[in-house]
Assembly symmetry: C2
Homo-oligomer: 362 residues x 2
C-alpha cells in the first residue's frame, strides 16, 4: 500500500491477520490499494452506487480484473436472507467461482450483508471491506462480524468472517448527511469511554474540527478507533472470553430502544448514545462513577447533536426487550459499566428495580 | 469417552481439533459419550426420527440437559435455504441461545443441513455430528464441510464448520437399506484407491464379512476411513493446497451424472462408483495404470453391487456438466487419477476428445 497520506492499522489474528488503510481519496486510486487480480463482485446500495459505483468499478476494471457490480436497495430491509439468496443466485448466473473476491462498498448494512454472502458462497470467498459511513469505518467493517436479520430480530444469523483488507476513504465522509455522521460519532465516543481517557480529551479538544469534517482530524480519529477495535478483536475474535463484550457499552438499552421504537425511528448510533448516557447514570447509581463523569460524557455526546434522553415508552417494554437481546444470557441483565472515563467492566445481574427507576422519566 | 468397544480417531486442526468415537450401541448410551450439558437442538429427518429420535432425546434429556428435537422431511430437498430459514426461526421461537449445541442426527443431508444451521445461527453454535448412514459415517460427517443446495446446483452455499465431536454408532447400519449401504461402500473403496493398497486388499479379503455387516469388520473399516479423512483434512482443512482435492476421485464424472440424470436416479455413491471406473479407465488411456488395476477396482466395486457403466446419455451433456461443476476452475477439465491402487494425482487439462471417446459406449 502506498504510504502517502495513508495510515495503516494491523489487525493481528494469526493466519487471518489483515491491514486497514485509512486516508483521503483512496477510492479514486483504488488500483493502488488493491494488491490482487481476478474476479470481483462489488456489492453496494443504491445511494452509494449513484455516488461512487460506476467510477469505482471502472477504476478497478482492467485486463486482469473482471468486475461485477450488484446493487441492493438502501436500508436495513436489505439485510435479509431473501436478499442474500438473490445475490447468491446472481453470482452463480454470472459464473463467480471460489477464487473471486467480494467487495463490500457501503455502510454497515452493505458490510454485514456482503460479508455474509462472502462467508457462505461456495463455502467462503475472500472479502474486502470498503466502508463509506463513519459508523462502518470505525466499527462494523473491522472485526469480522457479518450477518443478516430475521423477522424476530437483528443479526440473528451470521458468521465471523474476517476481511483480507479494509480500505477506508475519509473523503467519502464529506458527502455523508449530518445525522448519519453524528450517529457514527456515538461509536467513536464509545471507544473513548471504554478504553481511553486521553482519546476522550482529544475528542473534546478537536470537536470543532471533527464537526467541520477537517480531513486530518477525521483520519486521526478513525485510525485511533480502528486501532482500538483491532486490539479488542485480536484479544477475543469470537466474543468468547468476554473482552469483546466491552464494545457493547451502551448497547443493552440501545438495542432495546431500537427494538421497541421500531428500526428507523432512531439510528443505531443515536440509540447507543441514549444507552451510554443511561449506562453511566446506572454506573453512578451503583457508586462506580461520580456526577462529573456523567456530565463529561453528556457534553461530548451533545457536542455532536446526539440524543441522551430515554424515549417516552413504558419502562417495562424496554426491560422486556433487554431480556430478549441475545447478548443477555440466562435471565439476568448484564451491563457494561464504566468506573471512570477510559475503563469499563461487565457487571452481571443488575437489580431490575434500579433499572426501572432510572428508566422512569422524571 | 469410555474405551469399551469404542475406537477413537483424532482430527488434528489446532484449536478446532476433535475426536471421532466409533463403536456399537453408542446411541443407546449417548449420555456416556456426550461430555457437556446445556441446551441441545437435535436436527434429524423423518426416517431417522421414527427409528431413534424419541429414544435418543430421552436418553440425552436430564435435569442438566434441555433437549429440543427438530425434524425435517427425508431427502435432498431438505438441503435448501428455505428449510434452513425455518429451522433458524424455530430455534429463535424456542429461545435457543449462543451456548447451545446442535446435534446432526442422520445421514449426509441432515449433517450438511444441521451443520450449516449451526455455523450461522447467532454467528455459530457448537456442533456434534452423529451420522447414521455409512456414507455420512465414513465421509461427510468428518471434515467440516456443511451447506445447502441452490436451484442451480448442489452445495453452492455453505461453510467450513468443524464439529466438536463425531459419534459413530455402527449398530445403526444394521437398519440401513442395502442400496444405501452399498452406496456408502463406494466412498470406502475410494479411500483405498486414493490412499492405501493395503486397505484395498483388506477390503477384498473382508468383503463377505462387510457385506454381512459383521460388527467388528464394520467398526474396523469405518475407523480406518475416518483416519484417512482426518489425515487429509488436517493437511488441507479448507481445500486450498490441493491435498483435499484427492477426495474428489470419481467425483468429476460422478457429479455430472447426478446433474444430468437428475438427483435421485443414482445415489451419490453409485454415481461416484461409475465415476471411479471411468477415472481409472482414463488413467489407463493416459498410460498411468494397466488393465490389471481397472479389473481390481471393478471387482471390488461390483462385489458391493455398485454400478460401473456410464448411463446412456449424450457424452456432450456430461462434458458440459463437468465444465459447470464448481470443482473445475477455468475452462479446463481436471481429474484425480491413480497411477496405482493407493496413489492419485491431480491431472490438469485433460484432452476433451479423450474423455468424449471414453464416454461413448461401445
Amino acid at each position: 500500500m502506498p504510504e502517502t497520506d495513508c495510515q495503516t492499522v494491523q489487525v493481528k489474528l494469526a493466519d487471518r491477520s489483515y491491514q486497514i488503510g485509512i486516508g483521503p481519496d483512496l477510492l479514486a486510486n483504488i488500483d493502488q490499494f488493491i494488491d490482487r487480480t481476478g474476479q470481483w463482485v462489488v456489492i453496494t446500495d443504491q445511494t452509494v452506487d449513484s455516488l461512487y459505483g460506476e467510477r469505482f468499478c471502472d477504476s478497478l476494471s482492467s485486463s486482469d480484473n473482471d468486475v461485477h457490480r450488484l446493487v441492493v436497495a438502501d436500508g436495513e430491509h436489505s439485510k435479509s436472507i431473501e436478499v442474500v439468496d438473490r445475490l447468491w443466485q446472481e453470482m452463480i448466473q454470472i459464473g463467480i467461482d471460489r477464487r473471486a473476491t467480494v467487495i463490500a462498498l457501503g455502510g454497515g448494512v452493505v458490510g454485514d450483508l456482503a460479508g455474509f454472502v462472502a462467508a457462505t458462497y461456495l463455502r467462503g470467498l475472500d472479502l474486502v471491506q470498503i466502508p463509506t459511513s463513519l459508523l462502518a469505518q470505525v466499527d462494523s467493517s473491522v472485526g469480522g462480524k457479518v450477518g443478516v436479520n430475521l423477522p424476530q430480530g437483528k443479526n440473528l444469523v451470521g458468521a465471523f468472517w474476517q476481511p483480507q483488507q479494509v480500505i477506508i476513504d475519509t473523503q467519502v465522509l464529506q458527502t455523508l448527511d449530518a445525522r448519519q455522521f453524528h450517529a457514527g460519532m456515538a461509536e467513536v465516543i464509545k471507544y473513548a469511554v471504554i478504553l481511553s481517557n486521553d482519546f476522550f480529551d482529544w475528542l473534546g479538544e478537536n470537536a470543532l474540527a471533527i464537526e467541520k469534517r477537517q480531513p486530518h482530524s477525521l483520519q486521526e480519529m478513525i485510525a485511533r478507533c480502528c486501532q482500538f477495535k483491532a486490539d479488542v478483536v485480536a484479544e477475543d475474535e469470537r466474543e468468547t472470553t468476554g473482552q469483546r463484550a466491552i464494545l457493547n457499552y451502551g448497547h443493552t438499552l440501545g438495542h432495546a430502544i431500537e427494538a421497541v421504537c421500531g428500526y428507523g425511528k432512531f439510528l443505531h448510533g443515536e440509540a447507543i448514545a441514549i444507552g451510554m448516557d443511561f449506562a453511566i447514570r446506572l454506573a453512578c447509581q451503583l457508586g462506580r462513577v461520580s456526577d462529573v463523569e456523567i456530565e463529561r460524557q453528556r457534553k461530548l455526546l451533545t457536542a455532536f447533536a446526539l440524543p441522551i434522553d430515554v424515549p417516552d415508552v413504558e419502562p417495562e417494554k424496554l426491560i422486556e426487550a433487554m431480556y430478549r437481546d441475545k447478548k443477555t444470557t440466562d435471565t439476568k441483565l448484564n451491563f457494561i459499566l464504566p468506573d471512570r472515563i477510559g475503563n469499563v467492566d461487565l457487571i452481571r445481574d443488575v437489580d431490575v428495580s434500579t433499572i426501572e427507576a432510572l428508566l422512569t422519566r422524571e
